[in-house]
């Protein structure tokens, strides 16, 4: 099977290890990964901050970048949700029905990583080995827009050596919210403080999630307070094997 990787802008420029890990996992389970170089950003930040018109060229570019691919994998619940729930709307705002149709067709072939592994490939055990105590935070857009449900947990439970502990109040938002973190920094910090307190109660060494963006926020708070809890994207945990760190 072939799949194109939508890296996402944040992962490409800030945390490339997440995309490298995604490639390792996909290749290990037999997927040939394509990297369309025309890709940039899904435009979610523009839409969610009130700039849907500025997102039009980004949607146009995304459609052009991925039009020829049969399956598209994204290591982010939030960007997947933007492709599924916002792209066609943005295209319609531009008055471009053909673009809207193309965006909808691409959305139907786009999967968040855990969806792709579990639903498309039918795999839950990817042969990973991660001998650490880990707690999982279900990010809001994975949880409520994509409804990924148990998929990430099924993947994590199949990891050898892992000590997976439940996060109290897991379904509460971490306070990231894109530009919310900048526009309402005090509320964002208050939400983060509670999320971190819950993580500390688990005694976990690592916090994991399916979104690098939320993890950037959570991890930024964890290191600021020197909690000693690290963050790993779901793909980074699934990428580690007994042989390869």
């Amino acid at each position: 099977m072939r799949a194109a990787l939508f890296v996402t802008c944040l992962v490409d420029g800030v945390v490339p290890q997440v995309a490298k890990a995604t490639v390792r996992v996909l290749e290990r389970v037999g997927v040939t990964v394509d990297m369309p170089f025309q890709q940039t950003c899904c435009g979610q930040m523009h839409v969610n901050t009130g700039y849907p018109r500025e997102a039009i060229p980004l949607v146009r570019n995304h459609v052009a970048a991925f039009e020829g691919y049969e399956a598209i994998v994204v290591p982010s619940g939030s960007c997947t949700a933007a492709i599924r729930h916002q792209h066609a709307d943005v295209a319609r705002l531009a008055g471009d029905a053909a673009l809207a149709a193309a965006a909808e067709a691409i959305a139907a072939r786009t999967w968040e990583l855990s969806e792709f592994l579990v639903d498309v490939l039918g795999v839950t055990d990817v042969g990973a080995y991660f001998p650490h105590r880990v707690t999982y935070h279900p990010t809001c857009h994975s949880l409520r827009l994509l409804r990924v449900g148990q998929r990430p947990l099924r993947l994590l439970r199949a990891v050898q050596g892992i000590d997976l502990v439940e996060l109290p109040g897991a379904e509460q938002c971490c306070g990231f919210g894109g530009t919310f973190a900048l526009k309402n920094p005090a509320v964002s910090a208050a939400m983060l403080a509670d999320k971190i307190a819950a993580m500390r109660r688990t005694g976990a060494e690592f916090a994991t999630a399916g979104d690098a963006s939320c993890l950037l926020h959570i991890g930024g708070g964890l290191t600021r307070l020197s909690t000693g809890i690290g963050t790993r994207h779901l793909a980074e945990i699934l990428a580690v094997t007994r042989r390869e760190r």
């Binding site: 802008c9 420029g13 490339p16 009130g50 309402n184 920094p185 939400m191 950037l216 930024g220």
Partner: protein, 476 residues
């Protein structure tokens, strides 16, 4: 898109506007330890109870869809249903008044009370009258209004503002309530403790005297049934029943969106509302009346105050489906931490963040659509399926359009220009490596300049990598 000349809620009256920017008011509330404790306790308790009450209903999602569909039908044919309601209420001996905004509504109510010769009235808990600042307007006209809902009474005696739609004194604990009663309620027993039963008994004795003396009552309405002109008030304490039946004159102030076409439709909402709001299977008191009861004068004031303007926006009008249950407030991670006062408006929380800016126009509440992390918890619990997150995003674009040229708009435009071309974006990503300098001491960035300092006020940022993913892929 609000059209010019469409009536919006006028400034200077009522309570629909942010007084301070939301981030500033929120930061102040976040530092109030007592408030945080009271709110955290109350919202988490009611959240769990609501979830249990809703889980008992196997067809909840169908009920929710029915609720949304009925309300959408009402909104699409509001002109027809309003006239039908007026006709039915009039035929049953009531008088209907039309108020374009808060000022008109307040004037109508004050004039009606003056005609009776009374100078004091009792009130049933009502969001519409809070919205238009009726108590203040009546005070200015020499009329004393007494709130008879326990929590509203606490707010009124405390010279305070409601901070929650259903539980207006949610920010107070019982100790604070005892202090307010002892200070402000002349007939409160001197030995009053902070036991809930004692507090309720003191309020009961105080209110009983008011009920028996009152000649005029003012209420809102949860629902108005167009086919029979029947009004319905749903409450838990029985104070509403007293107000609606004892006084000689009853004046009801109701937003024009409260209509239901028929009695059959009420069946849906009497299941949706109690479980969503108080987590009860059935609320203790549901009072219904059609027109004037013998020996009583009945007046119905139909209030627009920005509702028509809200209706004009196809992507915002679903906010008018709201039945004021407060489920969205109780699950909102922002509301849970800031409380209602930070929003300025009597409609706080997620629904307030979409309703208030539409009633006033976005110019007067520009921060509220941004007072959300878009986590989506509100949409999940809304009994009439208002997609609040999508509506917030839409209203954000209206705020951006209203503000015009700002540094933020320039930055977003520049970023879109860079990101819409893969070559420009590849170079911009490489240029980002300059940020490595900022993180050279700690291997992470602890201070960012300019507006990005809001990030590093509470969070680190990882040091940018030596190589972007796309460059790594090329070198692979």
């Amino acid at each position: 898109m609000t059209f010019l000349g469409m009536p919006t809620a006028p400034p200077g009256v009522g309570q629909l506007r942010q007084e301070a920017p939301f981030p500033v008011a929120a930061a102040r509330a976040l530092d109030d330890s007592q408030l945080r404790r009271n709110l955290g306790h109350a919202t988490s308790t009611i959240r769990a109870k609501r979830a249990a009450a809703v889980a008992e209903v196997p067809d909840w999602q169908e009920l929710r869809a029915a609720g949304a569909a009925i309300k959408d039908d009402v909104l699409a044919h509001l002109d027809r249903y309003l006239l039908q309601l007026e006709e039915q209420v009039t035929a049953r001996g009531g008088t209907v008044h039309w108020a374009a905004d808060a000022n008109e509504a307040n004037q109508i109510v004050a004039d009606l009370i003056h005609t009776t010769g009374e100078t004091s009235v009792v009130k049933v808990k009502s969001m519409a009258t809070q919205e238009i600042g009726l108590n203040e307007a009546l005070a200015a006209a020499g009329i004393e209004a007494t709130e008879t809902d326990l929590a509203e009474l606490i707010v009124q005696l405390g010279h305070d503002r409601p901070s929650h739609i259903l539980v207006p004194a949610i920010h107070r604990n019982r100790n604070q309530i005892r202090d307010i009663f002892l200070r402000e309620m002349p007939d409160a027993p001197a030995q009053l403790s902070d036991e809930p039963a004692e507090l309720a008994a003191a309020a009961r004795a105080h209110l009983r005297r008011k009920f028996l003396a009152a000649q005029v009552a003012i209420s809102g309405a949860n629902f108005a049934i167009a086919e029979t002109g029947t009004l319905a008030v749903v409450e838990s304490e029985g104070n509403g029943r007293m107000c609606l039946t004892l006084p000689r004159t009853l004046i009801t102030v109701m937003g024009i969106e409260k209509i239901l076409p028929s009695w059959r439709d009420l069946e849906v909402f009497l299941q949706l509302l109690p479980r969503s709001s108080t987590a009860e299977r059935m609320n203790p008191y549901t009072s219904m009346w059609s027109g004037a009861v013998e020996g009583q004068d009945f007046h119905l004031v139909l209030l627009d105050n920005g509702r028509t303007a809200t209706l004009a926006d196809p992507r915002g009008r679903a906010a008018l489906r709201c039945i004021r249950c407060s489920a969205c407030l109780n699950v909102c991670p922002v509301y849970e931490r800031t409380g209602g006062h930070a929003y300025g408006s009597v409609y706080p929380g997620p629904i307030g963040a979409v309703l208030s800016p539409q009633l006033t126009g976005v110019a007067d509440n520009p921060d509220l659509p941004f007072a959300s992390s878009l986590c989506g918890a509100c949409y999940e619990v809304c009994p009439v399926a208002i997609d609040i997150p999508s509506m917030l995003v839409h209203l954000r674009s209206r705020v951006v359009d209203y503000k015009g040229r700002t540094p933020e708009a320039a930055a977003m435009h520049g970023l879109a220009w860079t990101m819409s071309d893969p070559r420009r974006w590849t170079w911009a990503l490489r240029a980002g490596r300059a940020g490595r300098l900022l993180g050279r001491h700690h291997d992470r960035i602890r201070h960012l300049p300019g507006p990005l300092a809001a990030w590093t006020s509470s969070r680190d940022l990882p040091r940018p990598p030596r190589q972007t993913f796309r460059d790594w892929w090329r070198s692979r």
